[in-house]
Amino acid sequence: MTEKQNADSIMVEPCGSLSSSVIQFSRLLSESGLKVSSANSLAALRALAVIDIHDRNLFQHTLRLTLLNRPEDRALFALLFSEFWCPEIPEQEQIANDEGADDASASEEDQDDSADGIQDIDEQPIDEVLSRFNYAAFWQDEGDESSDDDNSDTSQEDESRTHKQDPGEIDPQELKRLVGSLARHFSAEKSRRLESHRHGSLLDLRRVIKRSVKYGGVPINLAWRRKKILKPRLILFVDVSRSMASYAKLLLQFTTAVLRHAWHVDVFLFATNIVRVTERQLQDEDVDLARIIAQCGGGTRIGDNLSEIFDDYSPLLTGNRTVAVILSDGLDRGEDNSLALTMGKLQNRTRQIIWLNPLLELQEYKHTEREMAAALPFIDLLVPAHNLECLWNLLPMLQGQDARMSSVS
């Protein structure tokens, strides 16, 4: 549901005392997507106590100053304000909130057609694919040197029904090496902030002095500072819908490897719904991974699912050191503009957005999906991901991109 439709469903008249109306208004704002906390509402009430509430402009300014947080929400706020507080007066600040309101009702009949044109839906439900695969045994099988055939070329011949490419057997050692080098790449960044450390290039004078006091002022024990090494946070969004069934194995193993060998990672599996998984769940035999995935459903709604992340997991996304990695084929069945909107928000809150798309190398797939095309300007790096070799290519691309970014800025 778009913001406007949400607003319509709970529109109420201001009633009773001013305080309760203000609180209702802030609830309306919250449900429409502008995050308003109770502290904000309290501040609004306090502020209204010191102004002349009969002045409409002043009233609106006051509510806006206390309840609003971001300039891009201004248009929606203006709309909701006039509809809630003065419904009969035509809206003076008509900054049309076009993105959310009007296009939502646009038809979506093309979506299904183009999806079928690209590929057939794999009839094997995804949980069956994975139940054959025993993760715990996989990781213990160090001796299993089933090499990684480059099936990207050979499998194109037997494209009878499915147009997808079989990633083939995956060598656990190679996966481990790959993830290790990715980890090293990401964790190499230095910030300008200094932290104290056992060894470094700068003296930490404060600690030196403190320690010297017990020796009568002779600095015998030295303390050092060095530039802090940033460990960025990684968020993985893995598409586990039906259309991704044949790549599921590769991608989930990649995800597990990342969780295991790398840095601070959060993993979300999504299809129709979105679910967070931990390393234990991916590793543990007793945990029924298939059931978790079945919980996600079979279809794909990328934009709506990602926007749920903002609501529930917003602490993960503050600070701009997060790198978002989306592993999906981009075939979205959600609302029209939701993916573009959500990607815009994601871009603001993360450092990089990397999209790994297994279908990228296929001839038929040329970003025909409106949604994927809409998301393209927000993606920093779009990489094919249908077998391990492609994933290896990710590393030089990342390094190349970093070099370009640092030369531009």
Binding site: K35, S37, A39, N40, A43, R46, A47, V50, I51, D52, N57, L58, H61, T62, R64, L65, T66, L68, N69, P71, R74, S191, R192, R193, L194, L205, R206, I209, S212, V213, K214, G216, G217, S314, T318, G319, N320, R321, N348, R349
Partner: protein
């Protein structure tokens, strides 16, 4: 401080007296920030007058303006306080000769006279509530934001060697941000949020006339209209109000009284700040003047 500003009209009068051309929203924001004693977060593009608000406020309230300029890697030693190490080492050396015990030595070393006050501590210890301007807070990193949040909540800090310092006259805090990076939710919620957009032609005209009283009204209007059209162009750095004022002053210094292609070309450095912008702008000049 609250006694001076009883009503919004008071605030309006004070700000106008300080030479700031304000709008209803800005005046309301300042009034509420003073009355409720909440920090004010001002966001907007470069050059729209965010820092000016703090300066005008300080002048209006007849109090000190304490400025903390943020940058990446700013930490407590540069923002809050630092010990004067060189002086401390000298003192230690001198104390050595007296052969005193450790406690006396420590008490001597960690004394007020060796404490270097940085802006935040200074703001907390002021005798009269100052205006604390934390400029470009989006350039600092998350750790600094968390530290700020803590300080702004209680207006007190703890210096391990001395003790807790509580502000007797809490400062009025104004934070500015250029939106280079998105600030954390907690900080946003703690403050009143004010977004300042580029001004309309009328407002910009008023600002130009305020700063340059001798300028011809028609000429000033031409200047403002030109700049407004410039902002619609796709430039690397869009000109703000500061650039408009610079340009107006430059044109006045060159004794110009109307815009034509040659004079705009000569003074283009006031408006276009990169090579690409200059190259983009030069062919458009006559078009921009012509439509004014």
């Amino acid at each position: 401080m609250a006694e001076i500003v009883e009503t919004i009209e008071d605030v309006d009068a004070l700000i106008k007296a300080g030479g700031y051309v304000s709008e209803d929203e800005i005046t309301t924001a300042i009034y509420l920030a003073l009355k409720l004693h909440r920090p004010l977060l001002v966001e907007g593009f470069a050059g729209v007058g965010k820092t000016e608000i703090a300066k005008v406020l300080a002048a209006a309230l007849d109090t000190e303006l304490i400025r903390l300029q943020c940058y990446e890697g700013l930490d407590t030693s540069s923002a809050l306080y630092e010990w004067n190490y060189a002086k401390q080492i000298l003192a230690i050396r001198l104390q050595e000769m007296k052969a005193s015990d450790v406690d006396t030595l420590e008490a001597e070393i960690f004394d007020e006279k060796y404490l270097l006050e940085r802006p935040l501590l200074k703001a907390l210890r002021c005798a009269k509530s100052p205006v604390l301007l934390i400029d470009e807070v989006d350039r600092a990193d998350e750790e600094f934001e968390a530290f700020l949040l803590e300080t702004l909540a209680e207006y007190q800090v703890t210096i391990p060697e001395i003790g807790t310092v509580q502000a007797t006259h809490p400062p009025f805090v104004v934070l500015t941000s250029n939106r280079v990076r998105e600030l954390g939710e907690a900080l946003r919620r703690r403050c009143l949020y004010l977004w300042i957009d580029y001004p309309s032609v009328e407002k910009e005209l008023a600002i130009v006339r305020q700063h340059l009283p001798n300028i011809d009204v028609q000429f000033a209007k031409q200047i403002c209209q030109f700049v407004e059209k410039l902002r619609d162009m796709d430039l690397d750095k869009r000109p703000g109000v500061a650039e408009t004022l610079d340009w107006a002053r430059a044109l006045q210094a060159l004794h110009a009284d109307h815009l034509d292609e040659s004079i705009v070309r000569r003074t283009i450095g006031c408006l276009a700040k990169t090579r690409r912008d200059t190259n983009k702008l030069i062919p458009e000049i006559s078009g921009l003047i012509g439509n004014a």
